[in-house]
Amino acid sequence: MKELSLHVLDIVQNSIAADANLITIRIVEKITTDRLVIEIADNGRGMDNEMVQKIKDPFVTGRKIRKVGLGIPLLHKACTRCGGDMVIESELGKGTKILCWFIYSHIDRAPLGNMIDTILTIIMTNPEIDIVYTHNYEGKEIQLDTREIKKIMGEVPINQPQVLSWMKEYLKESFNSLYGGANI
């Protein structure tokens, strides 16, 4: 994938397929330690141990487990070729957590890309799923929690165009303050 944010969008599809109704996405950019961390956790149906062991292998996945495909192997490869790695924790009936990290300055690391578009895309087509998105840059943090937005919106669906454009502007402003005023 050209952007890591596209990997995030892709991995979240697994959570959606696993019937999660709460997905937390956490990005940590730590320039001082040269690390980029992406963590995606859901409360979906989870996997057993055997499946967790096999899932990074693109050739083990088959038709009967169709919800999993190349998504994880591709992200895993993206991590390992940038001096990072991926850890998957999962429990049946509880959910799955995917943690991956990269050497921030590695020449092969794809740019994080447009996280705003990724978050909006997820919310747009899955208004019933709650998303908690946290982005930490050098210790400064921004957050978008759809549960808080839903509390205010009541019966108005959060994928209404006006609400989506509010979220887009909100995230844009948050990112500007996060990166110290530089436009993204």
Binding site: L6, V156, Q162, V163
Partner: protein, 122 residues
């Protein structure tokens, strides 16, 4: 700065229009959002569809996502379902092609044959 207060305002403004919108056109647009679709550019396609829908006030059109349809090399794929009509599958989409689909097919009922899977496989 955007604040939570703005959301209260949006809620008040949209509540009325939501109640008015009981008559659904039943048009559904489905975008393939599996690994293949995302890698091929489904995200900008979906966002441009939403943008065009908002611009033209087509609030009764439903946009949804689906997994891998099995035609990975033809992604991004967009399917248009209109009640009483056969499903139309558009392949190798990009944001500007997707806009044309909204303007011509969804709004005027004119299928863009050259973008369909049928035209691609000839």
């Amino acid at each position: 700065m955007k604040s939570i207060k703005d959301l209260e305002e949006i809620r008040k403004r949209t509540l009325d229009t939501i109640n008015l919108r009981k008559d659904q056109s039943g048009i559904r647009i489905v975008v393939g959002m599996a690994t293949c679709g995302i890698a091929a550019g489904a995200r900008p396609v979906l966002l441009s569809i939403m943008e065009e829908i908002e611009k033209n006030g087509l609030s009764d059109v439903i946009v949804a996502q689906t997994g891998c349809i099995g035609l990975c090399k033809l992604e991004p794929i967009v399917e248009v379902y209109k009640p009483g009509e056969e499903k139309v599958t558009y392949v190798k989409m990009n944001p500007s092609k997707a806009k044309r689909i909204i303007n011509e097919h969804v709004m005027k009922g004119k299928i863009i044959q050259e973008y369909t899977v049928g035209a691609e496989e000839k």
